[in-house]
Amino acid sequence: MPARAPLAWLQLSHGRVKLIVAVAGVVVAVLLMLMQLGFMQAAFQSALIVPRQIDADLVVISPQTQAMFRTAQFPHVLLYRMPSVPGVDSVRAIYLATMPWHNPWTRGEQSIFVYGIEPGDPPLRLPGLAESWPEIRRTDAVIYDSKSKPIFGPVAKAFNRGENVEVEVNRRRVRVVGLAQAGNSFGIDGNLFTSDLNFFRMFPNRNKSGADLGLVHVKPGVDPKSVQPELQKLVGAEAVVLTHDEFLAFEHNYWARSSPVGFVFTLGTVVGFCIGFVIVYQILYTDVSNHLSQYATMKAMGFTDSYLVRLVLKEAVILAALGYWPGVLLAWGLYEVARNATALPLDMTWQRVLGVFTATLVMCLISGAVAVRRLRAAQPADVF
């Protein structure tokens, strides 16, 4: 025997066009929210790829530094005193600058982010960096980030074919001697790694007494946190000593709070939510309006307001469920497309999938809750 008629579904599906429009509205909202949140997390992720791979226990930066791609310099001499502190094993400076890269294939110019690194082991745990690491001690030798955006030209392809890739960076001719994999972000389109000496050859006007990053290694078995206060006392107010975790939090904080990235994508997510709300509200409001005389009849027969409210809210939940899954599938496909186009680390996380599902449900329920106010117009006394 049949179960009780699923009233909400029957009402919703009575008009095919209405149902399709409503579901499409939810799909668009879900898609927008997922894309915006995905891009936001990708921005944070990509900005943190290189900082995460920094091989250091403590990181020294200038108090004026906003983020790794927007550094200020602190006096290099501060680092010289550090090895005297008990527990410190080694200290090394990294110089950072954005320089114009002259694309030999297109003759175009593009900003590239250059790391000038003092001698020692590779300070970044990036795939491929260690292999060609000794090469950068040669004059005008650089390691190119093969995950840089394609606008720099087919550098990796040419290098892998065994061609001699020579490019002009800041008007100095340099030679690519190896490939590493870092990845671009919203702040940086591509990366070059070279020695401190080559860095200053490419950027002769740069003040040599200012370093951008100081990387401190502690001796085995020493807790970096125990050394941190001593080092901070040593550098005073001229630099800030952070643990590696603190440095990552600092970077993340910049992208989430200080850069427009966090704001823009959060706003985009809210807009997606609002679009879904408005469309679902419109559909439910019209649906209630079109059935006012029937609802009034039901009220006269003894159906309570709460029965009808639940009916409308059930419709809202059905719309949320129907629109959500196509939205997730579409977003998943678009992640794939966007990942290939931008090389950003776009991934669907479970937290986001669940979070957006909750948001979709809330969105539809709010729409329903606002639309049911229309039920007040259903006056049972007027049906006679």
Binding site: L7, A296, T297, A300, M301, G302, A381, V383, F384
Partner: protein, 244 residues
């Protein structure tokens, strides 16, 4: 007495010791406030006994519909006493009114069937108000009553696929399916041709007789006057002797 006379003797004489289903005493009702206040009902007395078919007639604006909505528990009683199915409606709470309404079978001029439910589902819907009735029993009772109104072969039709007369019969089935203790009908034949209209009132009459529940029917339709045990005629908010 301002009440009524019979157009023909009831099937069984209405015993004066049978408790009336509806008793109204001194009912007054007005709409609007202050300057715009307009009194619609003046000191109306009305009684309806089990098993009766009572017609309520009168020109438009005479207060028939207002009286009907008051008896139906759809409006708050302003003045006078009104007992319906043992409940005093004057001063009744919203929940009490809903309770009374659930025992009443309503037939409206506009059938107001839900367009997205089949004929059977529209009738079954009433049992949403009676959760103690199982789904199977609801279906069985809906099918039975639809057979009775002659729609046994239209059970799974959608409302827009049947004629106006058939829709009105579905509405009658919906009003009767849960075994109401009072049937209130507003112009149930207005939208129907003579033959369908006749069928609907005959049906109401016979079902009322069998189930013993009274029918109060507002109508202008002189073709169906003969089913009435009594006619209550209203003019200008008062009950008057019927024009013979």
């Amino acid at each position: 007495m301002k009440t009524s006379t019979s157009t023909r003797p009831p099937a069984e004489p209405v015993a004066s010791n049978t408790a009336p289903t509806v008793t109204g005493r001194g009912i007054c009702h007005s709409f609007g406030e202050g300057e715009l206040k307009k009194q619609i009902l003046f000191d109306v007395d009305v009684s309806i006994y089990p098993g009766e078919v009572v017609l309520l007639t009168g020109p438009s604006g005479s207060g028939k519909t207002t009286l009907l909505t008051l008896i139906a528990g759809l409006r708050d009683v302003q003045e006078g006493q009104l007992y319906v199915l043992g409940h005093e409606l004057h001063g009744a709470t919203r929940d009490e009114l809903v309770d009374v309404r659930r025992k009443i079978g309503f037939i409206f001029q506009a059938h107001n069937l839900l367009p997205f439910l089949s004929v059977r589902q529209n009738v079954e819907l009433v049992f949403e108000l009676h959760p103690n009735v199982s789904v199977d029993e609801a279906t069985e009772r809906a099918d039975k009553i639809l057979q009775l109104v002659g729609l046994g072969d239209r059970l799974d039709y959608m409302p827009d696929k049947i004629s106006g007369g058939q829709k009105q019969r579905v509405a009658v089935a919906r009003a009767l399916v849960a075994g109401p203790q009072l049937i209130l009908a507003d112009e149930p034949t207005a939208a129907l041709d003579g033959k369908s209209g006749r069928a609907v009132v005959d049906l109401l009459q016979s079902l009322a007789r069998e189930q013993g529940c009274p029918v109060l029917m507002v109508t202008h339709d002189s073709r169906v006057l003969d089913v009435a045990d009594r006619v209550i005629h209203m003019e200008d908010g008062r009950i008057v002797e019927p024009a013979q």
